[in-house]
């Protein structure tokens, strides 16, 4: 889309965009700068964006007061485990729904899709009670349980199976004597790897940011995730803002790094998951 540039309009446009950019980025800069300020400067008035003296003491305080290493590892475990499960279940079900015909196929697929319309918050109570029954409250399995399957993932993978895997290829593999599981593992899975990447990033980020379920299902700090730990400790540090900002920086850092490296994939993944499929 090209339009002839009217210079005043163009200037106004860039001013608006620069203004927007500043508003978008300012809270992050504020967080970063506060995390490096000594306690005496944190509450200085007027607020300063650049600390007079830079210090790492807030980061030390965070690690001393809260088991942030533990929280971090919990978040990594939760996100990695659930992402692997989502990838396996989505590619497997997507492949079966895309390439096989069997009784009740459409009914089952519609059922899976329909659950995607129901927000988690409307069934978290019975799910919690089920976890109580399983003895999974305050257990890793309970924490990870809701994130093992993703309706959207199955839908997305089914579409990709349709578009990227020709029937002839599967038939040829069958004639060559490859087992059904062998076809999935050696042929389908590698061909789906591109879209699996997009799904993996999406799933990872969504689980990393999870809050209400970890809040409900965990009772001891040993299982808290980064997000939950930060949410809980902000009350403890509510008079001491340096450490809490340091904690925020630490919880954002992994996501930022992933974003910077995989920016293209993420944007693609989000636009795909948002609408196209």
């Amino acid at each position: 889309m090209k339009m002839k540039k009217l210079s005043t309009l163009s200037i106004a446009k860039h001013l608006a965009l620069i203004g927007g950019t500043v508003i978008m980025v300012l809270p992050f800069i504020w967080m970063l700068s506060t995390s490096f300020k000594p306690a005496s400067e944190v509450l200085s008035w007027p607020p300063k964006f650049i600390p007079d003296t830079w210090t790492l003491e807030n980061y030390a305080t965070v690690f001393k007061t809260a088991p942030f290493v533990r929280f971090f590892l919990n978040s990594v475990a939760l996100s990695v485990f659930s992402t692997i499960c989502v990838l396996l279940t989505s590619t497997l079900a997507g492949y079966v729904f895309g390439k096989f015909s069997f009784p009740m196929k459409n009914l089952l697929f519609m059922m899976i899709l329909a659950t995607a319309m129901v927000p988690f918050e409307t069934y978290m109570i019975p799910l919690y009670l089920r976890m109580v029954q399983f003895g999974w409250v305050n257990k890793f399995m309970g924490l990870v349980a809701p994130y093992l399957v993703m309706s959207y993932g199955i839908f997305f993978m089914r579409q990709n199976v349709h578009t990227t895997i020709p029937d002839e290829l599967i038939d040829a593999a069958r004639i060559d004597g490859l087992s059904e599981f062998g076809i999935y593992w050696r042929i389908v899975l590698p061909l789906l790897s591109g879209s699996a990447n997009a799904l993996a990033i999406f799933s990872f980020m969504q689980t990393w940011a999870a809050f209400i379920w970890p809040l409900i299902i965990t009772s001891s700090r040993e299982l808290w995730t980064m997000e939950l730990g930060l949410g809980m400790f902000q009350y403890r540090f509510s008079v001491d803002l340096g450490p809490i900002n340091a904690g925020s920086v630490l919880s954002i850092l992994p996501v930022m790094i992933v974003f910077m490296i995989l920016r293209k994939h993420i944007v693609k993944g989000i636009t795909l998951t948002g609408m196209k499929a």
Partner: protein
């Protein structure tokens, strides 16, 4: 001799295929049953019961949870707050995102920078962002009151009073979602064939005409989709409310009470399972109405919005 043998061969591969298909699907369907389908049904069921400890179906009470709900002041406040939140976040979240996307439509050297900036809040998890905004809104040391003081505005206790707290959370939430909607609009705008616009320009159409007569109609389905997704997600607002406005350790009586916050408190603080389930059913009904509204208006299949808690 040969034919039956070949048939058996076909039968065998067919059996193997069924075996694989069902073998793969059964565990997944079982997970769906346990983690999604049964809980969704149970939630509706539980809403007709009063619970006791360890038993969500201790006493059948018919619609009495719902009757109680409709005379409950806190529920009324929750519905009102959540609706105001959803309406404002959706309106500004869609309009601003559309404007930004239009400004970024023609790729330039700077557009990657702008896009990244607007996208930053989207990829950041809600908790750290809510923690920072909580401090930006601080009445004594907050950045916002400092900036407002340049214009001679007296300090405001943003998160202390219900009205300003709701406004504060709306602003912060709009800030967080603009980038997401913008990216979707951007894809839609960049998909519009250049020839349409060039043809219109040759015909002497003004910028306003090009926007109103070409871009807007072509974007209509996407705008509708984004509007519905944003509204639905807004109805589920919880994390930022919990972090920014509830007192120490999420103490009851926070300044902004939203639907999911109320469900959370009733279910997990007061253990009124049936009552909270009835509230959750109301939330589900609102979401379903919005979803079917989209079906009806756009004739487009609803796609995923969110699969689980965030």
């Amino acid at each position: 001799m040969k034919q039956p043998g070949k048939l058996r061969q076909i039968d065998k591969t067919k059996r193997q295929r069924y075996l694989f298909a069902y073998g793969a699907l059964i565990p997944i369907i079982a997970m769906y049953a346990i983690l999604r389908i049964v809980p969704i049904a149970q939630n509706v069921l539980y809403s007709f019961f009063n619970s006791s400890i360890g038993n969500p179906m201790a006493e059948f009470v018919g619609f009495s949870n719902y009757k109680e709900l409709f005379s409950d002041n806190l529920f009324a406040i929750s519905i009102k707050n959540t609706t105001i939140f959803a309406v404002f976040v959706t309106f500004f979240g869609v309009v601003i995102a559309l404007l930004v996307a239009l400004m970024l439509a023609a790729p330039s050297k700077m557009s990657l920078l702008y896009e990244t900036a607007f996208f930053l809040p989207v990829i950041t998890p809600m908790v750290p962002v809510a923690v920072v905004w909580k401090w930006i809104y601080d009445p004594t040391y907050g950045l916002l009151n400092y900036i407002l003081s340049w214009f001679g505005i007296e300090p405001i206790g943003w998160l202390i009073y219900p009205q300003t707290a709701l406004l504060a959370i709306i602003i912060m939430s709009v800030w967080k979602i603009i980038g997401y909607n913008m990216i979707i609009f951007l894809v839609g705008i960049r998909d519009i064939p250049e020839t349409y616009i060039e043809a219109a320009m040759i015909d002497g159409a003004s910028r306003g005409q090009i926007f109103g007569k070409i871009i807007l109609p072509l974007l209509r389905p996407i705008i509708l989709l984004v509007t519905v997704i944003t509204t639905i997600n807004s109805y589920n607002v919880f994390t930022q409310v919990y972090i920014m406005t509830s007192g120490a350790q999420g103490a009851p009586g926070g300044a902004v009470r939203t639907l999911v916050f109320d469900i959370y408190e009733n279910a997990f603080r007061y253990f009124k399972t049936g009552y909270a389930a009835a509230e959750a059913v109301m939330l589900l009904l609102i979401i379903l109405v919005l979803t079917f509204l989209q079906f009806g208006l756009g004739g487009k299949e609803p796609k995923k919005r969110r699969h689980a808690a965030s």
